[in-house]
Amino acid sequence: MDRKIALSDYIKQEVMRNPKANLDDAEDLFNAGILDSLAILQLVAFIEENFKIKIPDEDVIFENFQNLNALASYLETQKAAE
């Protein structure tokens, strides 16, 4: 499955707790109040477990997690680096 879709489904299901929620790929996940510090940890664990991509601590920054587009492109660079 497309990674962005998997991420979107996970956030809707586990973070927003509303599988039917509208979540635009460009929506700012922080300003919209969707991701807080604990949700980030959950999301990182989900990515590491499901996509088998290790996210170094120093990469957990705003620019990489701001929205689904940013996260998906960041993950592409990580996958390519492996």
């Binding site: 586990e14 604990l38 940890l41 120093e58 920054i61």
Partner: protein, 381 residues
């Protein structure tokens, strides 16, 4: 599943216990009463290798893996009755040394880690502020970017080791609008103009671990003292808290084992109504509960350490362990006092001090309420 330790690990734990019995248990009543930190004991621990345990040899450490480190900290909690000293070392190891090691630039590691491991430098960690505790990322200390570095303004509260510290890892925001993503770590050296360590705070327990407030007034910190990238502070902080929980809690296991053994011995010796008090079921059951608590707590802790060794996420397990172990240590301390009766309430018996020391565990590194919040969220509630 293998629950055994190697011969070497057990021998090392025993060496830590013997060292603690011999070197660390003098004058604690007086130091606790006067709220005095012992630089001598601190240096002895460093010489023995405690502060450097999990850090590589090139930085003055002994490169022990996390499980061995946890076992050694457990041995320290068992052998050393000075919970404050152990707390102070844990505060430095996990929330000063570990973030510098994990996130620091090569120069920062070379500059600070050997001195911290060898006991020549003492480090503090400043996150909490007068108006932000559990809601740590609502901090107000700002770091304004200027030519060559940053200017820090604000204050930090309840900072362990501050009165005796040579440096502090502190968190400030470079962009308050970005909330947690503006939080950035800095290494600030004592003596930096604009940085003051204010009055020493008097407290209920852990009195041999000194605490103070940090104040930053137009304090210039050079760029090379920023820890990690801008905005990575919240992640650095989270990482430190996870490590700190494992290390401090390991010592609690040792302390609870010490309390259990002392309670058993006392319950066998103390006679009332013509028999040892341990023969009374109420007393025996209380001691049995101490044992159950100790063993369940131990399993939770070892699981966190094992997960960390495997490089797996420990968010849920670390929260479970923090909640359960800190509350268990409070209960175990209270149970010890009940078993010792009024002798346990007397300072000279060194039973009551554990209770005062234990209470802080339900507050620092995230209160018990916050741990419950984390667990509830991860349970999908």
């Amino acid at each position: 599943m293998d629950f055994s330790w190697t011969e070497e690990q057990l021998a090392f734990r025993k060496a830590v216990v013997d060292f603690a019995h011999k070197e660390l248990n003098q004058d604690i009543i007086e130091e606790d009463r006067s709220g005095s930190f012992s630089p001598e004991k601190w240096r002895k621990c460093a010489r023995f290798g405690i502060q450097g345990l999990p850090f590589p040899e090139e930085y003055g450490g002994s490169a022990a893996d996390i499980l061995t480190t946890v076992l050694a900290m457990e041995g320290l909690g068992y052998g050393c009755k000075d919970n404050g000293l152990i707390f102070a070392m844990n505060a430095q190891m996990w929330s000063v040394q570990m973030p510098i090691y994990s996130f620091g630039a090569a120069d920062q590691k070379r500059k600070y880690l050997p001195g911290l491991c060898r006991g020549e430098l003492i480090g503090a960690h400043g996150m909490t502020e007068p108006d932000s505790g559990s809601d740590a990322y609502s901090l107000r200390t700002t770091a304004q970017r200027v030519d060559g570095g940053y200017v820090l303004n604000g204050s930090k509260m309840f900072v362990s080791n501050a009165p005796v510290s040579d440096l502090a890892v502190v968190f400030a925001t470079v962009n308050p609008a970005r909330k947690m993503w503006g939080v950035t770590g800095f290494i600030v050296e004592t003596g930096t103009p604009g940085y003051t360590i204010s009055r020493k705070l008097d407290k209920m327990g852990l009195r041999t671990s000194p605490m103070a407030e940090l104040v930053f007034q137009d304090c210039f910190v050079p760029e090379e003292n920023r820890l990690g990238p801008e905005g990575a502070g919240s992640n650095i902080f989270n990482d430190s808290m996870e490590w700190e929980r494992s290390g401090i809690l390991a010592s609690h296991i040792g302390a609870m084992e010490r309390q259990l053994e002392a309670s058993i011995q006392y319950a066998r010796e103390r006679q009332q109504f013509g028999q040892p008090i341990g023969k009374f079921q109420s007393v025996a059951n209380r001691i049995v509960d101490m044992k159950v608590r100790l063993e369940t707590a131990r399993l939770l802790l070892y699981k966190v350490a094992w997960l960390k060794k495997m490089g797996k996420p420990t968010v849920m397990e670390a929260a479970l362990a923090k909640l359960y172990l800190s509350e268990s240590f409070i209960q175990s301390s209270l149970d010890s006092i009940r078993t010792f009766g009024s002798y346990g309430y007397m300072t000279e018996f060194e039973v009551e001090r554990d209770l005062r020391d234990a209470v802080g565990g339900a507050l620092y590194s995230g209160t018990s309420d916050i741990q419950r919040n984390i667990i509830a969220r991860l349970l999908g509630l």
